[in-house]
């Protein structure tokens, strides 16, 4: 019996939503870690029972939680994130040098084949790795130490490393994205990095096609075609067919190309999903109508998906890590909003139903596709 487990991080706790493969009836568990911000939680592809969660608070700092039973019980593990060597400086909002300071973990990316290995993307932007199930964390300093590091500046949400993608076909290749520095790639398991931003154009920086400085919001890859990447940038939806070496805009006929999340259908590498948002100063859907847009052509041509989504008076946002897909035969799409709704579609986006309507603001949504007992 197959099923899905949807992992939801919110401003005030984590929620675990489970259903069988029909995805019609849902069990809602939570809040876990009530009152804490849960920026992200994600399961190991190698062991569905192993989950990691980033729990943080302005009062009490960062905690990392680990579950070995699919989110039933949790154990706090290591939470010491120390930048390696002299931290150095990056640019502050006013252009002055600012020391690198750890603030929180934005994203946890478990290894594809080892449940005890997990990567953490943090603010101020850095990449850490644990190889002992989260008990100890070591920085991969080559990224932050890139020669462009001192010029990186925070986006409005802080200088966060929010996206980590592990290439399933090429061990050692990792993509990372930082607001507002851009996309980076390592081909040696995170030792060395280089920017992969050619083709991006951003109006908010002095040199619009600079090597770094772009506010990349999210990246997505289909595992069967890891050289094809999709990007939602601050403005513009972009595509690369050469593992980030070059990008071209595929915003096409979207009503607006500003947004945060982007994801790819589990079985159709050319089917892509975005949630257009009015603008950088109006973080809500155009005309108050919540529409997911789907392209079946790898970009450029987009169709609005509205069946079951509010089409009036809707002024929520969908944050960068708050969309995910399952891999059941009929691909499920999930996203959460800042209004606390988590919507699910069991038919690739043709129709939507809210799983829950009144959670705290949703920060992240991840999905595990379960088989057998679904531990």
């Amino acid at each position: 019996m197959s099923g899905v487990r949807v992992l939801v991080g919110t401003r005030k706790g984590a929620f675990v939503l489970t259903s069988d493969g029909k995805r019609e009836k849902w069990d809602v568990s939570g809040p876990h870690f009530a009152g804490w911000e849960i920026y992200h939680l994600k399961g190991s592809p190698a062991d569905a029972g192993r989950l990691y969660a980033s729990q943080c608070s302005g009062w009490f700092g960062q905690v990392i939680q680990r579950s070995d039973d699919g989110g039933v019980t949790w154990e706090p593990v290591g939470n010491e994130f120390s930048y390696q060597g002299e931290p150095g400086t990056h640019q502050w909002y006013d252009g002055t040098p600012h020391p690198w300071e750890f603030a929180r973990v934005w994203h946890l990316e478990p290894s594809l084949d080892d449940p005890d290995t997990v990567y953490a993307g943090v603010e101020d932007a850095g990449l850490f790795r644990s190889t002992d199930g989260g008990r100890h964390w070591q920085e991969l300093p080559g990224l932050r130490g890139h020669k462009s590091g001192p010029s990186w500046q925070p986006g409005a949400g802080g200088m966060c490393l929010h996206t980590i993608i592990l290439d399933p076909s090429r061990p050692g290749r990792i993509f990372a994205a930082i607001s507002a520095a851009g996309a980076f790639r390592s081909d040696d398991a995170g030792e060395t990095w280089r920017p992969v931003n050619r083709g991006l154009r951003s109006e908010g920086i002095p040199d619009s096609d600079a090597e770094v400085g772009h506010c990349v919001h999210n990246l997505a890859m289909h595992p069967s075609r890891p050289s094809v990447l999709y990007m939602q940038k601050h403005w513009d939806v972009m595509r690369s067919d050469d593992a980030g070496e070059s990008w071209r805009e595929v915003s096409g006929d979207l009503p607006t190309d500003f947004g945060f999340p982007i994801d790819v259908h589990a079985h159709e590498p050319e089917t892509v999903y975005v949630v257009p948002i009015t603008s950088d100063s109006h973080h809500f859907p155009p005309e108050g109508r919540l529409r997911v847009y789907r392209s079946r052509t790898g970009g450029d041509e987009w169709e609005p998906l509205t069946n079951g989504l509010p089409q009036e008076h809707c002024y929520v946002n969908v944050l960068r890590d708050a969309m995910a897909v399952d891999s059941l035969d009929s691909c499920g799409i999930y996203f959460g909003t800042t209004g606390g709704q988590v919507y699910a579609s069991a038919d690739s986006g043709d129709s939507w139903e809210p799983i829950v309507r009144d959670l705290p603001a949703v920060l992240s949504v991840e999905v595990q596709t379960l088989s057998g007992l679904g531990r």
């Binding site: 009062w59 009490f60 939470n79 010491e80």
Partner: protein, 98 residues
């Protein structure tokens, strides 16, 4: 025996109810109490003070005997009433919205 009162979120994290009681070797100071607390409950490391600098986190306060000890030297002796267990050492999340 030192009595320590934790804020609700840290009681949950440490999986304790009510006050924590600690035996502190030598002179009882804020630093030695926090050392003993973190040794007993390692999941609290980093939630009260920075793990490298050991400085109090910005929105944490330390109270005892109706006094704010937050800005006292970490190695200063604690009030006698706290050392005797008559009064608790209070670790408090500073008042702020959210």
């Amino acid at each position: 025996m030192i009595r320590v009162a934790l804020p609700a979120h840290l009681r949950t994290l440490a999986r304790v109810d009510g006050e924590v009681t600690l035996d502190v070797a030598g002179q009882a100071t804020q630093c030695s109490v926090l050392d003993a607390l973190e040794a007993r409950y390692p999941m609290l490391c980093g939630t009260i003070r920075d793990q490298q600098t050991r400085k109090r986190r910005a929105f944490i306060r330390f109270f005892a005997c109706e006094q704010d000890l937050s800005h006292e030297q970490p190695d200063a002796p604690l009030p006698e009433a706290v050392v005797a267990g008559a009064e608790p050492y209070l670790i408090v999340g500073a008042m702020a919205g959210g």
